[in-house]
């Protein structure tokens, strides 16, 4: 399923199926470990990857029902590009209260945390989204 497309890039395509985000997270873990990221950083990368994949699974409505992930290995950082061919979204509207259920505590909402988790755990998160799909680019530096 995973292809190495150059010495420093790995490409993975996963179907939008239950738990397939684990495949993406585990490959990220293997790559990050090979780059000598520490255990905490590897877990942060895995959780951010899981959230990115789940966002695509839940919201993209991609007709091909797949997510393409580029793992780009650089000397001191790992870049992850997660792409779907879905309907896109306005990043400014995500991470807000999208949950129809009232929450008991106003600061403890249940859903809509994915992007905030990614921003918290990674050094940078950039989103390019349009009617032809979305690419989330996340970078983790070894020195941060």
């Amino acid at each position: 399923m995973a292809n190495t497309i150059s010495n420093d890039q790995v490409l993975l395509t996963i179907p939008m199926r239950q738990d397939m985000e684990l495949a993406a997270a585990k490959l990220a873990s293997v790559i990050a470990e090979s780059m000598s990221f520490n255990d905490d950083q590897i877990e942060e990368i895995q959780l951010a990857m899981i959230e990115s994949c789940i966002n695509a699974f839940e919201h993209s409505k991609s007709p091909d029902q797949s997510v393409v992930i580029h793992y780009i290995i650089r000397t001191n950082e790992l870049e992850l590009q997660i792409t779907d061919q879905g309907i896109g979204f306005n990043p400014g509207n995500r991470g807000k209260r999208g949950n129809s259920q009232p929450d008991l505590h106003s600061d403890m909402r249940k859903r809509g945390w994915g992007l905030e988790i990614m921003h918290t755990l990674m050094d940078s998160v950039d989103i390019m989204s349009g009617e032809n799909g979305t690419t989330i680019t996340m970078v983790k530096s070894k020195t941060a």
């Binding site: 239950q18 738990d19 397939m20 985000e21 684990l22 495949a23 997270a25 905490d40 877990e43 942060e44 895995q46 959780l47 899981i50 959230e51 789940i54 929450d103 008991l104 505590h105 600061d107 403890m108 249940k110 859903r111 945390w113 994915g114 905030e116 988790i117 918290t120 755990l121």
Partner: protein
Amino acid sequence: MANKFDIQVRAEHEYAVLETAGYLNDALGEDLSKKAQELIEKGYTQLVINLDKTALINSIGISILIEIIEALDERDGTLNFCGLSATQERTFRMMAIAKYAGIFPDEKTAIANF
């Protein structure tokens, strides 16, 4: 890719401990919620969720943990977590869970702090 998970429940006189193993996603979360609700209906209002054997979590799984906090809140109960990794604890704190549930390093401390 099958996600193998398990939940062990240990009900004591005044509290109960739920110990998860595996990826905390919607499936494990729903199972955990069901077991927690059963305990709450039996009158347990002091619960510990031990995540020591759960290496990976996602936001859907965490949202179900929030539902358990809310269910206990309605009965003036308390939920204490233990066994979180540093990253999991950071995520829980960012999501304000630490304001409404305890976070402790181990089960013994979590039980002692009811």
